[in-house]
């Protein structure tokens, strides 16, 4: 079988794997943002206790390899009676891990909103939650887009770790195919191209978002 024929014949299975990869990525990045924003707010505005808790979370997940986190979730938890499917374990692991990284990006963005704007908000009579909601958050979300774009692309590629706990993402599909036809090299060339195309499309989309939300004049 020539390379184009081979590529064409394995494409459906690989794309199935890519769909799982994308599902993992999208759920994990969303989970990461939903957790990461409150954690970032907690680190900037929280009481001492909340600050310590949030910092602890961030340090644990940034300070240990993703793979060990996944292994603990998938192979470790059953010993305390918690059985997770490979997909669930992968989503939780990557979501928590991404939350830690995103919390840092969001924190940076929060801190680059000038203090003087907060003082103006308080002078108008806003409560702290209102100032955060109407002054800090809208600016934070814009400022974070570039680093958030990086995180999304990293995450897409890091989902390949889920292969190690047998989640049926694109690498797993590739291994399965190549274990049958022994054409590992070609199979992984095709996988590489698929990743590349997806990353390029995502980057383009994120660039568009960034310019769409850019504050005029800045």
């Amino acid at each position: 079988m020539s390379f184009p024929e081979l590529a064409w014949s394995i494409l459906p299975k690989l794309l199935e794997g890519m769909v799982v990869t994308l599902e993992l990525t999208i759920i994990a990045i969303t989970m990461g943002a939903l957790l990461g924003i409150p954690i970032a707010l907690g680190r900037v505005y929280g009481s001492k206790l909340i600050y310590i808790f949030c910092t602890f979370f961030v340090e644990i997940f940034r300070g240990t390899p993703l793979l060990t986190q996944l292994f603990i979730l998938y192979f470790g938890l059953p010993s305390v009676g918690v059985m997770l499917s490979p997909f669930t374990a992968a989503v939780i692991g990557m979501g928590l891990n991404s939350a830690a990284y995103q919390a840092e990006y969001f924190r940076g963005a929060i801190q680059s909103v000038k203090e003087e704007q907060l003082i103006a908000a308080y002078s108008l009579g806003m409560k702290q939650v209102q100032a955060i909601r109407y002054v800090v958050l809208p600016q934070m979300l814009r400022l974070v887009i570039p680093s958030w774009s990086n995180e999304l692309i990293y995450l897409l590629k890091y989902t390949s770790m889920a292969y190690m706990i047998q989640a049926p993402e694109i690498i797993s599909q590739g291994r399965l195919i190549s274990s049958r036809n022994f054409r590992t090299f070609e199979v992984f060339i095709v996988i590489t191209v698929i990743y590349l195309v997806v990353v390029l499309i995502l980057s383009k989309f994120l660039d568009l978002m960034e310019s769409k939300f850019r504050i005029p004049g800045l």
Binding site: E116, Q117, I119, L124, G125, Y134, Q139, I215, P216, L218
Partner: protein
Amino acid sequence: MPKTVLKVENLHKSYGNLEVLKGISFQVRQGETTVIIGSSGTGKSTLLTCINQITPPDKGRIWLEDIEITDPKTDLNMVRSSIGMVFQHFNLFTHLNALDNVRLGLTVVKKISPERATEIGIEKLKLVGLEDKLHSYPAELSGGQQQRVSIARALAMSPKLILFDEPTSALDPELIGEVLNVMIELAKSGMTMIVVSHEMGFARAVANDIIFMENGVIVEEGTPEAMFNYCKNPRTREFLHKITELYGGKKE
């Protein structure tokens, strides 16, 4: 005699060992403009932020009309929404256009409907001469225009009093006039204002009272007439002389 809008009594504030305000007392009556002068680091900004309690004072009492706002029971957000504040560096919300900068306090703090807030916003921006800049963002405006937006933002809240902290000192000389003119109109229209500024032309034009502060105390206070012509304290005379040299405002 017009009623007293603001009364400050024996106000003290320290940062650590540094005593910044050492017992400040003064009053401002409705419709009057008080200009505060004094050298750098004297505590003028601290005094203003203590008035709206963005900086909590250590000691002393402040009344806004009949309400003692230093009473721990007062709702500080309510108090702040009725005291306007205009900053040296404008402090506009950079992600909002001019109109939305003016509208935000109305919709969020005063819970005014978006439509009504837009009407008020347009009206106030017209008042400061920016009706053609409603949809410009702060970064698209000159310093003078930004400061006028910030004045409109303060005005929109219908404050009982507006505090100005060196509103023109971050501006290029050719932009100072447009801001001062807006402030002069405001003063003439009966707004009660406290203005930290060394623009003595402005003080001569509209101030009812000039306060000279030094090292956290009020050294001397009087009408512009009295301060310029018959001030008693040699420090006051020296300082007034210095700033009229620097900022102009000699009698034309």
